[in-house]
Symmetry: C2
Subunit: 686 residues, 2 copies
């Protein structure tokens, strides 16, 4: 017990220097601090209610329950893939929007999984025991095995539970998160893409903004809407300028404790290379969409993802290249290292961490291309290849003892694998070939035409030829074929002559080998030494912080607040409907949909539309509810401004802002623009 | 006279630390140093002969005279645009190659201009007098006016002469270069693109290599092959490993004296942004080429240029990010600044240069997007827009006194403007629209949709809509229309309602304004202070160097020499024909043409094909002759290896290599593969 407390206490981020910085865990929320500043103290009951009303979309978003009948609110862009998968050339719900008139009209999303966090258990001691005295490869293996064991015991074979060991404070703390898992998730409502993403890429990460980036889903259980006790009530008043706001959601990842050598690696290698890749892919996608309207429809969701990532990464790179930023990081690190070095006992424990990470960065430089392209997916950007790899690996892994498998094939994770594997989401040959060709071309380029792996994978073939041959030749588009291969196990895989299966087998040994080398020489080393850095930080400066984000539930507090741009422009915190009409040009991406012009006479154009707060959020928070002290929804997070993109590495409250749709805009749109009375009534305060 | 000598002597690069570093001017060639190391001392006569036998392709390449009948040897990739412009969907000379059986079959290239350097005159004193006591805007204006005056006097209205004031040693020295200008340049021979660029982008900047990157052109005068006294003889023996080699050509630009703040600007801003742009353009182009074989043909030369630039810039960025490189640059600069600071007299003259450049870099950060997109061409990537801008500006500028015009419209430069303007090179609507749309999209993205210039240029229109409207609506595809507008001057422009002319007029004031601001606040400041840095360098360390490259004729010496890769592989200096057959897969870009397989039985497969030397070259040297002590052609420069790409900023002789086609491969190919006996006989030693 003492040890746990110690570990807990030692692994905190540096005392948050800025006002409302922090993505707090629910079991460590600074309620007193909030009370001191805002006069409101969240109680345990309040926190539990908020936690249970919040959900995670397993593929990378946040959401919230907003009715007792399992209605889930999230962003349009979080359900974009589903909406596209349910569309056809004849019925394009992305373009036209979707509104189910009755429960019976709600349609299942092929690949969305919703998770509700029902329990948290501290398992730091278990992990500590399992890895005691181990380093490097042995450390990583023992840790992965223990995690799998704990997760398996927690789920107990119940596919409706999803258990995950969560690493907090860079390994200073391990928690076992138990989620209730919903895989029957249906689309209820989505507006037109044109208003969900009004302003498109040019306005993305910008403010003022005029987006109705919302979709409603519903979780079902046993074929009926699931009954949900904890859910958020709705505020018809929204939030005032300066009002305290909370965001409860799943920030994906921050790196605020990252050492200087790792930051330099990000700045000089990782981020530029990702941007180069995305830029080229973006050029390809936009031109692919010129092939025709059907290609434009099919590739739209991918383009959104790529452009969003491209812009976000450029923002991050700007921060990494900022001299003041790096100077501060270097100064902080030097000061901490000096303090540690001055105390022989501390130096012995923590002193080697920074150099160990720097050495791992050298290994990462060396291994990154092979890892990223052959194992990490950059080289095989094909849905059908992904299916083939799942089948090949699943056949090999499932017969192994649970804790000896690649972690994603542990029993606790198989439901998620199966949902994706058996998804009926359509695959379009021409788009599949274009993407696969692109990624194979980049793989050959980055590894070099003479690389033995390239020679093995390509033979004499060109990237385009190989992609076309595999995509056209495979039978894996047929879900029944996938099921038969999955159920048939290794024997079925051995007997298969499907070209995509054969290709996945051909490259698998190399992919597994580089994964193992990367995990042993980079990941394990970085994980272990980041933990030491986090502990050194506490040993030197004491407690008072929050763990880096890890796509687990966090609560951020802040207030509605405008800001001042570098050029002196004052940015007011709210926009309104009138501004959207003013900005409309009739041309994509500034074309307001017809529904809006039809409804215009009925609308109060002064209705608040989007607004900004200084809550500390990051990618993964998309779809998070913005709530007030009464735990009522006052908004829906859908973006951060461009100045927030450095939030991965530090929080600069001066300009870093979260961007949300106002709850008043949401309800008004359902009522007056979309005639979605059923949904509006379901969320409206009774 | 004394002043000239002083200035000359003071403005030298740091003493070349490495063996054969240096891109030497012909009037300052270190013959003694060559003699000391290699036992051969070039005489003035030898140097004159080599200079007069060398040519420049005005659009950015090098070449050489190889017969008395004006036969010019250069790279295939230097004539690629011409070959594409002469091709049609029915007769694709890029794919099939071209070989003129007689003089009468030689076809004029629409846009190639060949320059032979006939005289050099030192005009440093003239420039010094004109700019004495001036700074900033006034300095730049006076300098440009004096240059124009000198050039005009030199050409004396003779369109067959091209005179240019050349800035050497960053303004420490100004020379007036007088070129004989050839605008009637005809295509004589080109092999298939598949062997000219065998290995394509994957092998670009790589070695070992198997490319026959050659084309032969011929300069004509009065409709007949021009008689050329000085031309290179041919070596049928090539060069031996270790043999002394010279490269006479036109390296485009190096930045070996660049200050640290400017290097950082390149590393953090300029280079990444150029790569992002090129990466996206590349993705677009490759996918555009998937529209069909005709689109693939039409866009091929542009793709080559884009991929080549992309790879080259990534190589440069790697050097800029190299910690050892930057550490050395910082140390060198600190040492120099300390030496200068220690001497009050020197400090007064030179001490402020570094900070002035750093301040200009801040201005460049601020101005770069507007300058690059609105004036610099990134935003209007359209041949027809380029024509419209030439017409609009030409009408406004030509009535002005010669020395008050934008420099490119000075009398001395008008022949080049007219050649391009009246070029009959085809324009393809779909490709033109695709490129223009792309660049307009990037312009809107980088300046922001709310930028006043964007609002003015686009109105409510989307980039695609605007591009399509302008390209489809303009009559400027018709050369006769261009001629009428050019000859009609301002009145014709004022009366024109051609949409592209109207658009060029709409954006011209903003473009001129940002150009002026950029020239005054960035270019002039950097030029002036780079000169001070160069002089400070001499004041501190003395003489012994060569000027940075400026696309003027230079002579480099070195030797045939392999190298060792970082992973320990020993790279031999020569490849041979057998290697090309070994590398062939039958798929682009590793598909050897049929002509090679047909000829294979007749070939000695041990014939040397490509080879490397440690000559110091850079972009712009493409097409340079590689010669031996007897001034015989032993090879044809066409590339540098990947390690040479940092050569912009320093010369690292360990791995930096120039890549050439062997003279034996060239003659054998003409004789035995292409049956081009007429050409082979013309260059073969008599």
């Amino acid at each position: 017990m003492k040890k746990t407390l110690l570990v807990l206490a030692t692994l905190l981020l540096p005392a948050a220097a800025f006002a409302d910085e922090g993505m707090w865990t629910f079991d460590h929320f600074p309620s007193e601090k909030v009370e001191k500043k805002y006069g409101f103290k969240p109680t345990q009951e309040w926190l539990d209610h908020v936690r249970l009303s919040s959900v995670r979309l397993a593929e990378g978003c946040s959401g919230s329950f907003v009715s007792e009948d399992g209605l889930v609110m999230t962003n349009h862009h979080c359900a974009h893939s589903c909406i596209e998968q349910l569309s056809t050339a004849q019925k394009d719900y992305v373009a036209a929007g979707f509104s189910a008139a009755t429960f019976a009209d709600e349609v299942k999303c092929p690949e969305i999984e919703v998770n509700q966090l029902v329990a948290i258990k501290d398992v730091t001691a278990d992990l500590g025991k399992a890895t005691a005295g181990k380093t490097g490869e042995a450390f990583g293996a023992a840790q992965r095995a223990e995690m799998t064991k704990l997760e398996n015991a927690c789920a107990g074979g119940d596919a409706d539970l999803r258990c995950e060991v969560v690493t907090l404070y860079h390994g200073g703390q391990y928690h076992l998160y138990k989620y209730r898992r919903f895989q029957d998730v249906r689309l209820v409502f989505a507006p037109e893409f044109a208003i969900a993403f009004f302003g498109g890429d040019p306005d993305n990460f910008m403010f003022p903004r005029y987006d109705l980036d919302v979709s409603f889903l519903r979780v079902y259980q046993d074929g009926k809407p699931a009954k949900i006790k904890d859910h958020f009530a709705w505020s018809t008043n929204g939030a005032r300028d300066g009002e305290l706001t909370f965001v409860s959601g799943h920030p994906g990842a921050t790196s605020r404790l990252m050492t200087v050598s790792a930051l330099e690696y990000q700045r000089d290698v990782a981020e530029p290379e990702r941007i180069f890749y995305l830029a080229e892919l973006r050029g390809m996608l936009r031109e692919f969409m010129n092939r025709g309207p059907e290609q434009a429809r099919v590739a739209n969701a991918t383009l959104f993802y790529v452009e969003n990532s491209y812009k976000a990464l450029r923002g991050r790179l700007t921060t990494l290249q900022d001299k003041d930023f790096m100077k501060k990081k270097v100064a902080d690190e030097s000061a901490l290292r000096a303090k540690i070095a001055a105390d022989p006992a501390k130096a012995k424990v923590y002193g080697g961490a920074w150099d160990a990470i720097a050495a791992a960065m050298q290994d990462q430089r060396r291994l990154r291309k092979m890892f990223g392209y052959v194992e990490g997916g950059r080289g095989f950007s094909s849905r059908l290849f992904g299916v083939a790899r799942e089948l090949v690996r699943g056949a090999a892994e499932r017969p192994l003892p649970n804790d000896k498998r690649l972690r994603e094939y542990a029993d606790a994770n198989l439901p998620a694998v199966e949902q994706e594997l058996f998804s009926a989401a359509p695959v379009y040959d021409d788009f599949e070939i274009a993407r696969f060709s692109f990624s194979l071309l980049k793989l050959r380029e980055e590894l070099g035409a003479d690389h033995p792996f390239v020679k093995k994978a390509f033979g004499p073939k060109s990237p385009e030829e190989l992609a076309a041959e595999l995509v056209k030749g495979t039978k894996l588009k047929d879900v029944a074929v996938r099921k038969a291969l999955w159920q048939g196990g290794q024997a079925a895989i051995d007997a298969s002559n499907d070209p995509m299966i054969l290709f996945a087998k051909l490259v698998d040994a190399d992919a597994r080998a580089i994964r193992k080398e990367f995990e042993d020489k980079v990941e394990s080393v970085v994980d272990k030494n980041n933990e030491l850095v986090a502990r050194a930080q506490f040993a030197a400066y004491g407690a008072g912080g929050y763990p880096d984000a890890t796509f687990t539930l966090r609560l951020s507090y802040g207030a509605v607040r405008g800001y001042v741009e570098d050029d002196g422009r004052q940015i007011a915190p709210f926009t309104n409907f009138a501004g959207a009409f003013d900005r409309a040009t009739g041309r994509e991406p500034f074309a307001l949909p017809k529904s809006w012009f039809d409804a215009k006479p009925k609308l109060d154009l002064a209705t608040p539309f989007d607004f900004v707060t200084d809550n500390d959020i990051i990618g993964g928070n998309s779809g998070s509810p913005m709530i007030n002290q009464k735990a009522e929804v006052v908004g829906l997070i859908f973006d951060g401004n461009i100045q927030s993109l450095g939030g991965d590495f530090w929080f600069d409250e001066k300009q870093n802002r979260a961007v949300a749709v106002d709850s008043r805009a949401l309800l008004t749109a359902l009522d007056k623009i979309y005639g979605a009375k059923r949904i509006a009534d379901e969320i409206r305060p009774k």
